[in-house]
């Protein structure tokens, strides 16, 4: 079985809760930071699929009760993995200050991953902000499997500072298309502009296409609109406030079309078919 097939066929393993320590906390531009984490013993994290996430919590006593959800950026082996974050509230503020050696509790891997590509489909990955990790992981894994030419990463931000961790994508041989709203790097404007050009060109060639996206909601809504208008399949990796991350608190409901009005971001998602998401 080739690596590509193995990556997709690995069934989600039961999640576990385990201790990790911060191996490195690297400040990036734009207020982003990368946490490299190390578990003392073997964990199920090696089986993580692109799109799956972990819940992380520090030794926060009786305040900040719940873990915070982070999409997995990188997995090196069953003990080492990384996440990307940016300060939004108190939880991420505390994590941003975590020094090497800081113990955290991790629950994961949780949720679903992006679905397997069909045939020689061209996968257009569309990332923005802290939505980069699942697509970064996807792109590098595709490259490892010898399918670098079957993926293109479109990456948008407000300015140059919001565009991080691109060296690994370029060195993996994956085509990268950057757009910034102020034009300080790549195309000027929203990333959906070069995305639309590429969609049209690929459709004109008759190439089978799909989009995978993760990022701010307005960006996901724009990707969804393009997908529906052009008839291109798309999967969106969503973010919601989560209490538990494993399907118990029912806090992370996602409005959907279908038999039931809601699905759950943590167990049915975070990856959803763009057509089923019920956004106003």
């Amino acid at each position: 079985m080739d690596l590509w097939a193995r990556l997709w066929q690995s069934r989600p393993v039961p999640a576990a809760q385990f201790r990790v320590i911060v191996e490195r906390n690297t400040a990036l531009t734009g207020g982003y930071f990368q946490l490299d984490l190390e578990a003392p013993v073997s964990t199920p994290i090696a089986e993580t699929r692109a799109g799956q996430f972990v819940m992380l919590r520090g030794e926060w006593g009786r305040d900040l009760l719940n873990g915070r959800a982070f999409s997995v950026l990188d997995v090196r082996d069953d003990r080492h993995f990384s996440v990307l974050a940016k300060v939004f509230g108190r939880g991420t503020a505390l994590l941003s200050e975590a020094e090497a050696g800081t113990p955290l509790t991790c629950t994961g891997p949780l949720g679903t991953g992006f679905p397997e590509p069909e045939g020689d489909e061209l996968s257009l990955l569309v990332a923005g902000g802290v939505g980069l990790p699942p697509l970064h992981l996807y792109a590098r894994r595709a490259a490892e499997a010898g399918a670098a030419k079957d993926v293109v990463l479109f990456y948008g931000g407000r300015s140059e500072a919001d565009i991080v961790l691109t060296e690994a994508i370029e060195s993996a041989g994956v085509e990268l298309v950057v757009a910034t709203e102020d034009g300080s790097r790549g195309h000027k404007g929203f990333v959906t502009v070069p995305l639309l050009e590429r969609l049209r060109a690929a459709k004109a060639e008759g190439r089978a296409l799909r989009m995978l996206s993760c990022g701010p909601t307005p960006m996901l809504q724009a990707v969804r609109k393009l997908a529906l208008e052009l008839g291109v399949p798309a999967h969106l990796c969503l973010e919601e406030q989560m209490g538990c991350g494993f399907g118990v608190c029912l806090g992370c409901a996602v409005p959907v079309y279908g038999e039931l009005p809601y699905k759950y971001c943590c167990t049915d998602g975070p990856v959803f078919d763009a057509r089923e998401v019920r956004w106003s």
Partner: protein, 320 residues
């Protein structure tokens, strides 16, 4: 016999540590995290006669030492519960408390009857929720007017042979009056407390943080209120079994509830961040009972002593 074994009215529990309704779903998700057979018991997600789909989003928001939720009593309904969820629960061999509710008087009684008809001996307690802040219709007077609670409890206990434990809301002026009303109507005990109604605001968006504006506050933030209510009810009704809950995250928290008068306790919000917390709390409680010289849980129940009185004030010190 284990130090942790205890009796809740007619029920024997292997441990006083249970898990709380709405915080443990139907338990399957927890199998990957802990040995469920070590629980004293568990209370299911609240069951209604028909399935319910829950409230709009956002449904949860974390606050200081607590969280607000307004899930809306989403559940699979009696029929699916009995066929799809109960067999797994019954296989665990721990005390199964089925939390249930209706939207009016008749559906409460109907729900209790359908659950007990389908139970086949697999349900140990019907925990009647008369206190959820998150349903709009009916509801509120069941949990807040003693006469209404009494009538409802009477009708439900007459419709089932399974012991009925009534879960009370703290959002009342007189918790003792409520406990007394349901006890006199035939309740086997009370669960204290459900969430406290609360609110949070996003000032930048000028919007409430959760879709229904108000939600139920849980977690360590509410523990002092819960303890006070358990103590008040136990002092007034020492024979009434009380299942205490509200922000318990350690063995010491659990023992506080037991000393205040709880017979057993439930863990709620902590299960979200630490799914195996119930096992840890059980071990902590066992060690603490041993350390403090209690032979068993019953010996610690309600053992709270009053503080020494202060000597009377006088203008001149008696010590020269």
């Amino acid at each position: 016999m284990s130090r942790l074994a205890c009796d809740f009215g007619p029920l024997s529990l292997q441990s006083p540590i249970l898990t709380a309704s709405g915080c443990f779903a139907y338990a399957q998700q927890f199998e990957q995290f802990l040995d469920l057979k070590r629980l004293g018991g568990l209370s299911t997600k609240g069951i209604s006669p028909l399935p319910r789909r829950g409230n709009p989003v956002p449904r949860i928001y974390e606050t200081a030492s607590g969280m607000l939720n307004s899930i809306g009593l989403e559940n699979v309904g009696v029929e699916a519960f009995l066929s799809e969820k109960l067999p797994f629960l019954a296989s665990l061999g721990v005390s199964i408390w089925v939390n249930f509710f209706g939207t009016d008087f008749e559906t409460y009684v109907q729900c209790a009857r359908e659950l007990s008809e389908g139970s086949a001996g697999r349900i140990d307690v019907l925990e009647m929720n008369i206190s959820c802040p998150n349903i709009k219709k009916g509801g509120i007077e069941f949990g807040t007017v003693p006469e209404v609670a009494h009538k409802l409890t009477r009708a439900v206990t007459e419709a089932t042979d399974i012991p009925v434990v009534v879960k009370l809301t703290p959002n009342v002026a007189d918790i003792v009056g409520m406990a007394q009303a349901v006890a006199e109507a035939g309740a086997a005990g009370v669960s204290l407390i459900n969430t406290i109604t609360g609110m949070a605001i996003d000032v930048r968006k000028r919007r409430p943080r959760i879709a229904t504006t108000y939600g139920g506050l849980s977690g360590p933030a509410i523990k002092p209120v819960a303890l006070r209510m358990v103590h008040q009810v136990h002092r007034a009704l020492p024979e009434l079994p009380i299942c205490g809950m509200g922000g318990i995250i350690s063995g010491e928290d659990a023992l506080e509830f037991i000393m205040a008068g709880a017979t057993c306790v439930q863990l709620g919000t902590i299960n979200f961040s630490e799914p195996s917390a119930s096992v840890r709390v059980t071990e902590e409680l066992d060690a603490l009972l041993d350390e403090l010289g209690f032979e068993n849980v019953a010996a610690a129940r309600g053992c709270l002593e009053s503080l020494d009185p202060e000597p009377p004030h006088q203008e001149e010190s008696p010590w020269r």
